[in-house]
């Protein structure tokens, strides 16, 4: 993976020192909160309901074991012994104290990490496919590009005061695991007719209060044109994006209000102008990035250990079925470590668990770890014959939950248990759903299912792209949960449709039960996933299940 050069080290160190002095001045009273707030947000420090929260960037979701060890150390030394992996592939600490933040940032800098640009109206941490560099279906590893974008966007003077935050996601695979169409800019690696790799560029996707599917502005952008082209998009947005209304300030609104073709023309015009004088990164830098993300030296010796363990142990077989994905090297597998133990808080990991993952990555995983936007951890390169050993260690640590892609593999934002913006809780809903369907023994029968829960309209829990989305709101002093159906975060992204009136927390589980029962009844065969049944039949049978009284009324009328 990419290692910091002297410039990176110096930059992060100077920012940490600067923030140390700002924290000291806040504490001694020389800075007011109004003055301090934008400074702390620039360094990833939020104030939540009960405590400060530090959001640490995990660039494009890639970590090595030393970094994971340090994240564990920070959790133990300065927090309450755990961290929360987020839908932005970041990690959040929920209980740091203000005076400790500079030391935490120093500890992060030691392992080439920071919390810069994890908040504020700037280009945020670039997210990517969590199987990048390992996936069998990949055109190219997107991480050299993601790192190039990190370097380009970090402290970019022109883009520090955008109308609103700006998120870029990139995937190197035709099967989109990075929800690229839900980002301000989505990049998908494609090949042109000559076989050269380039990018499809999508603009104006987003979730939040106005969910939009990103629109393609370029079918094929040559790799060398990427930075000037992105600068063109950002320049158009910076000039024309709305600053009069926070809720209309994202680029998706600009795309919507301007119209795709006029906006494309603006971007192309800006691009033609920028490219004339654009100083491209040196060829050595690009070659260096490619080398930094070169595949590890795979050990292709095979044994029958993987097959034997599956034959001998049904629990391991179940784990492989859900948690091991195809690797581009046939001797290897991609192991997803579920952070969704049934009844747990999605995305939480204890320091102990982080250390174990770090150790396993070091021993069996070529020192590589990924964080997924679905709030799980991944060992991207594990030799198949080592997977039984890895599984055994995970099992002992309560980390072997075999539920990836199933109904208990739920995305949930922190919700009102932590978040100051939340209008309702998310985590207890996720816990109840997972526990309920586990108790009914239905999880495997239901099969592929993505439930995503947000505790407010900002949609950090991606509810719009959940096959079943749940949005927590407040109605008359009570938590109320609104259900959306048919959302899909893949390359054919679809925004879920609101089913109807919301449910109280007490009524929600019964409603979901009726919904799932209806699906099990109407699906064509056991392999037809909920989302496919929904696409085939439309909403009607599911709405009838969610709102049986209305369905009865309609029949009576």
């Amino acid at each position: 993976m990419y290692r910091y050069n002297d410039f990176d080290h110096e930059f992060v160190k100077s920012r940490t020192e600067e923030f140390r002095s700002q924290v000291a001045r806040r504490i001694d009273g020389s800075l007011t909160e109004d003055e301090f707030k934008p400074l702390r947000l620039r360094n990833g420090l939020y104030l939540q309901l009960h405590a400060y929260m530090l959001r640490v960037a995990v660039p494009y979701g890639t970590l090595n074991s030393a970094q994971m060890q340090q994240l564990a150390y920070i959790a133990e030394r300065w927090d309450k012994g755990y961290g929360h992996f987020t839908t932005r592939q970041n990690i959040q600490y929920n209980w740091p104290k203000l005076a400790d933040i500079p030391d935490i940032l120093d500890a992060l800098a030691q392992v080439e990490m920071h919390a810069i640009q994890t908040s504020g109206n700037c280009i945020r941490n670039v997210t990517s496919d969590h199987f990048a560099g390992a996936a069998a279906d990949e055109i190219e590893d997107p991480r050299p590009t993601a790192e190039l974008l990190r370097q380009w966007s970090t402290d970019h003077p022109e883009f520090q005061y955008l109308p609103r935050k700006f998120k870029i996601a990139i995937t190197g695979s035709p099967n989109d695991r990075a929800v690229t169409r839900a980002h301000d800019i989505g990049l998908r690696m494609v090949r042109n007719e000559a076989g050269e790799a380039g990018y499809e560029v999508m603009v104006g996707g987003g979730l939040g209060r106005t969910p939009m599917v990103g629109k393609t502005v370029r079918d094929f952008l040559p790799k060398a044109d990427l930075l000037p082209y992105l600068e063109a998009i950002l320049q158009v947005y910076n000039l024309h994006g709305r600053r009069d209304n926070k809720y209309k300030a994202r680029i998706k609104i600009l795309v919507h209000e301007t119209g795709l073709d006029p906006l494309k023309a603006d971007i192309e015009a800006a691009f033609q102008s920028i490219r004339k004088t654009f100083v491209h990164p040196k060829a050595e830098l690009i070659a260096g990035l490619d080398a930094a993300f070169a595949p590890p030296e795979f050990n292709n010796t095979r044994s029958l250990a993987f097959e034997d363990a599956q034959a001998a142990n049904p629990a391991f077989r179940a784990f492989v079925e859900t948690n091991v994905a195809e690797h581009k090297n046939p001797a290897y597998g991609i192991v997803t470590i579920s952070l969704k133990p049934v009844g747990g808080a999605p995305g939480d990991a204890t320091a102990e668990q982080m250390r174990l993952v770090a150790e396993l990555a070091e021993l069996y995983g070529h020192d590589e770890i990924r964080v997924s936007h679905e709030q799980n951890l991944i060992l991207p390169h594990v030799r198949q014959s080592d997977i039984p050993l890895v599984y055994q260690r995970l099992l002992e640590a309560g980390l072997a939950t075999a539920n990836i892609g199933l109904i208990s593999d739920i995305i949930a934002c922190p919700g009102m248990d932590y978040c100051a913006l939340a209008t309702a809780r998310s985590i207890p809903i996720a816990q109840d759903i997972a526990t309920h369907f586990e108790a009914r023994g239905l999880e495997r029968e239901i099969g592929h299912m993505k439930i995503k829960i947000s505790g407010c309209i900002n949609a950090c829990g991606h509810h719009h792209v959940g096959h079943i989305g749940i949005l927590g709101l407040e109605r008359k002093g009570q938590e109320l949960y609104q259900i959306t159906l048919g959302g899909d975060g893949r390359e054919n992204m679809a925004v879920g449709e609101r089913a109807g009136p919301g449910f109280s927390a007490d009524a929600l589980m019964d409603a979901l039960d009726r919904l799932i029962n209806a699906y099990l009844t109407v699906r064509e065969h056991d392999e037809e996933a909920f989302i496919d049944t929904y696409k085939r039949l439309g909403a009607a049978p599911f709405l009838a299940a969610l709102y049986p009284e209305e369905a009865d009324d309609a029949r009576a009328a």
Binding site: L47, H50, Y82, P341, T350, I427, E474
Partner: protein, 115 residues
């Protein structure tokens, strides 16, 4: 009929550790809601908030919240958000994911317990 004014108290977060704090009658900040000073009417509430905002070196984000007064005279928040702020996360956050998932499902906090 005049709108009934719900009694209010002032809350904020402690500057140093973010803890939820309440303004007391002595013009100090306490982590105990029972020690909060209660504003019975709008004029008193405005004065209390102004007092709360004076000590920016101790707290962040002072604001007024509605409370109900118990038989013992102690205030308790009426909105669920303030109840969670007062009581901390409703989930078992200090023992996350430590046990095997079977053990976990037996110890998980249900919604009703959290309220």
């Amino acid at each position: 009929m005049a709108k009934v004014f719900p009694p209010k108290i002032v809350s904020a977060n402690d500057l140093m550790d973010g803890d939820v704090v309440y303004l007391t009658a002595q013009n100090t900040w306490s982590r105990q809601i029972t020690e909060a000073v209660i504003a019975p009417d709008e004029a008193a509430a405005e004065i209390l908030l102004a007092k709360g905002e004076e000590r920016q070196d101790l707290i962040v984000g002072a604001y007024l919240l509605d409370v109900a007064i118990g038989d013992d005279g102690a205030p308790s928040p009426t909105h669920f958000r303030e109840k969670y702020r007062l009581n901390g996360p409703s989930i078992d956050y200090l023992a996350p994911q430590k046990q095997s998932f079977v053990a976990q499902s037996n110890t998980q906090t249900t919604l009703s317990e959290g309220a």
